[in-house]
Amino acid sequence: MSSFLLSRRTLLKSAAIGSLGLTTGLLTQRPAFAEDLTIGIIYVGPRDDYGWNQAHAVAAKALAQVPGVKVVEEENVPETIAVAKTMESMVELDGAGLIFATSFGYYSPFMLDAAKKYPDVQFRHAAPLWKEGDPKNAGSYFGYLDQAHYVDGVAAGLSTKSNKLGFVAAKPISTVLSNINAFTLGAKSVNPNATVQVIFTGDWSMPVREAEATNALVDAGCDVITCHVDSPKTVIQTAEQRGVKSCGHNASQADLAPKGFITGAEYKWETIYKQFADTLSKGGTLPNFLAGGYDLDFVQNTPYGAGATPEAIKAADAAKADMKAKKPIYVGPLKDNKGNEVIPAGTSHPPYDPWIDQINFLVEGVTGSIT
């Protein structure tokens, strides 16, 4: 099963890279667009949340600069029938030819149904969910932020004094768990004594509880705090107030923590969005599955802040180079934090291995439990 998925994905990815090369080639030849393209972008929260939605909105703004492209946006759309109707409305009333659905729960059944209903419109969804058998005009694109969290972890591991790092997480789902694991593995790669303590808030956006969780982690002795919640503003601010260091998530939070900011894991959706717009304007076909990380410039780290020590910067830069070279994060032998072996010695999981999308454990060195 997993090997089949792997081969399927590798195939798709090489196709995607191929089409990327093709479009850039075409772009240089023919600067004018054949016809205007309306692109609809749907957000689950407010566009300026210092986090997930903002990362997309920043890319949407860049996309709107592309000649011939018109962007229509809708924010605070819940993962209910409302999103189905928003997609249909964008097609019916705005004439959208490409729709980016940016929240996880939009995919099934809403985006799949919309794709079946409007076969001439392209639908793309920001999570690695598309599989063979789903509509051909639907697809997934995803940036593997765990690579940037790994770099965060490296920088954090060399910036901590207490060797205790804190992670405020929303829900124990695979994407979050893989970020926690990558952060931990990054920290341990340079500082074997480092441990990561996790607190789950249970909600994607719940500022008071996020602040309480940050305080609890600092009280427990953590001196670097990072997070995976929709809007990291509260966590980073609270950490700064408590005088500890912090690593960001989703978008840049550097200006929130002038004293303690180390670096942050950021998406770079505009790489994907512009690429898609170009492809469509040239009459090309969008890939059904496009996933990448540092190697394809889909993720990045926020420029280092005052909290990063010189040796942390050096090691993190080396880690970035590793990520660009597609060095695997998950290398055996690896145990989870209950002592079970999850990767035997001598094996490893390369980046974009679907195995990563199914992660359901916390690695050794993480204090916390997913149940």
């Binding site: 809708e74 249909e88 729960g105």
Partner: protein
């Protein structure tokens, strides 16, 4: 309400037609005043837009286009109205007994959740759709009924304020669902969005043929009509209204007040549970955190705008569904925040409640000879 129809200020010689006209004139109060209030709210909102440099004309034309202007808009509107009818009934029925229940959201979420859970063993055993859906329906409705029934019982037997209790229980219901959905009942096949096991494509309730809207809408309308009959044409409804008018008088007349309260609350909860059933069976296909989408809270608005009348809830739910449907278009075309629609709704709600004070005060709607 009943006193209007019973006044006999019409001279007998005027005959049947005049009498009917007169009755119409007097009862038109219940249509004219709310419409007047909506117009006033619209005017105030226009001023608001105008002050912000936006065009009210464009706003209202987009509102029309997005909500009611095209066949697609109607679909969009009706789909959004479907859960609102049922959650509004969850408010309206207890309101007839003088109770303000604002916890329909919890009953919806918990009903949807238990319904989805009930489907799991049957789906795994390969049961036919009618059995799966039947079990889900019964479970969802019963859960909702028990959940709000508890609120009624707490109110009557412990004297706990039902508004607060239902709200607290709403939060608790959502916590219960999240606990199980992310724990014991989590579907391992869906690692990134904690959900229960899907009920499966074959078990989903489809759309009403030719309408593009799921069956929750017609069912909601039928339930609304049935509950109107129950509240207005049966002994139960009469007793409930007496209790709502004056609890002491109801007790003095020997009415089983406690039973009435708990039953009405259970009916209310059943409606919310039913809404939850449709959310799972017709839309989500599984239970997850998206079920708490605020339908229960919008239902409060619908019920109050409809003055707690089950039949009036239907057009009001469609009206509010239309506003919600147009909200996206307004965001995209005018670049206005999504909260614009919320401001309009809040304003309408406030003005409509203020207009309540007009009832019985305007001479035009009074019976002849009545110089109150």
């Amino acid at each position: 309400m009943a006193d209007i129809a019973q006044q006999d200020g019409v001279p007998a010689m005027a005959g049947g037609l005049a009498e009917t006209m007169d009755r119409l004139r007097r009862s038109s109060e219940y249509v004219v005043i709310p419409l007047f209030a909506l117009v006033v709210a619209g005017l105030i909102f226009s001023l608001f837009l105008f002050a912000l440099g936006q065009s009210p004309a464009m706003f209202f034309s987009l509102l029309w286009k997005g909500g009611f202007g095209t066949g697609f808009s109607w679909q969009n509107t009706l789909v959004r109205a479907a859960p609102l009818i049922l959650t509004a009934l969850c408010v309206a029925i207890p309101a007839r007994l003088g109770l303000v229940i604002i916890g329909g959201e919890g009953a919806l979420v918990l009903g949807a959740f238990t319904g989805a859970v009930a489907s799991i063993p049957l789906v795994n055993a390969g049961a036919p759709p009618f059995l799966v859906l039947g079990a889900m329906l019964v479970t969802s409705v019963a859960t909702g009924a028990v959940w709000i029934g508890i609120v009624g019982a707490l109110r009557h037997y412990r004297g706990i304020n039902e508004t607060i209790a239902s709200l607290l229980m709403s939060y608790i219901a959502i916590a219960i669902m999240n606990f199980f959905v992310e724990g014991a009942l989590r579907d391992p096949g869906n690692p990134n969005k904690p959900s229960t096991q899907p009920i499966g494509e074959a078990n989903m309730i489809g759309e009403v043929p030719g309408l593009g809207v799921h069956w929750g809408l017609p069912v909601g309308i039928v339930v609304a009509i049935l509950l109107w009959v129950l509240m207005n044409r049966t002994t139960f409804g009469f007793a409930a209204r007496v209790t709502g008018g004056n609890v002491r008088a109801a007790r003095a007349q020997g009415l089983p007040v406690g039973k009435l309260i708990v039953t009405a609350c259970a009916i209310a909860g059943a409606c919310a549970g039913l809404a939850g059933f449709f959310e799972v069976a017709a839309i989500q296909g599984k239970a997850n955190a998206s079920l708490a989408a605020g339908y229960g809270f919008t239902g409060i608005l619908v019920a109050f705008l409809a003055r707690q009348n089950p039949i009036a809830i239907v057009p009001v739910a469609i009206f509010l569904g239309g506003i919600a449907a147009a909200g996206g278009l307004i965001q995209r075309r005018m670049g206005m925040p999504d909260a614009t629609v919320q401001v309009l709704q809040g304003l309408m709600f406030v003005v409509l409640l203020v207009s309540e004070t007009l009832y019985g005060r305007l001479p035009f709607f009074r019976a002849k000879g009545d110089r109150r």
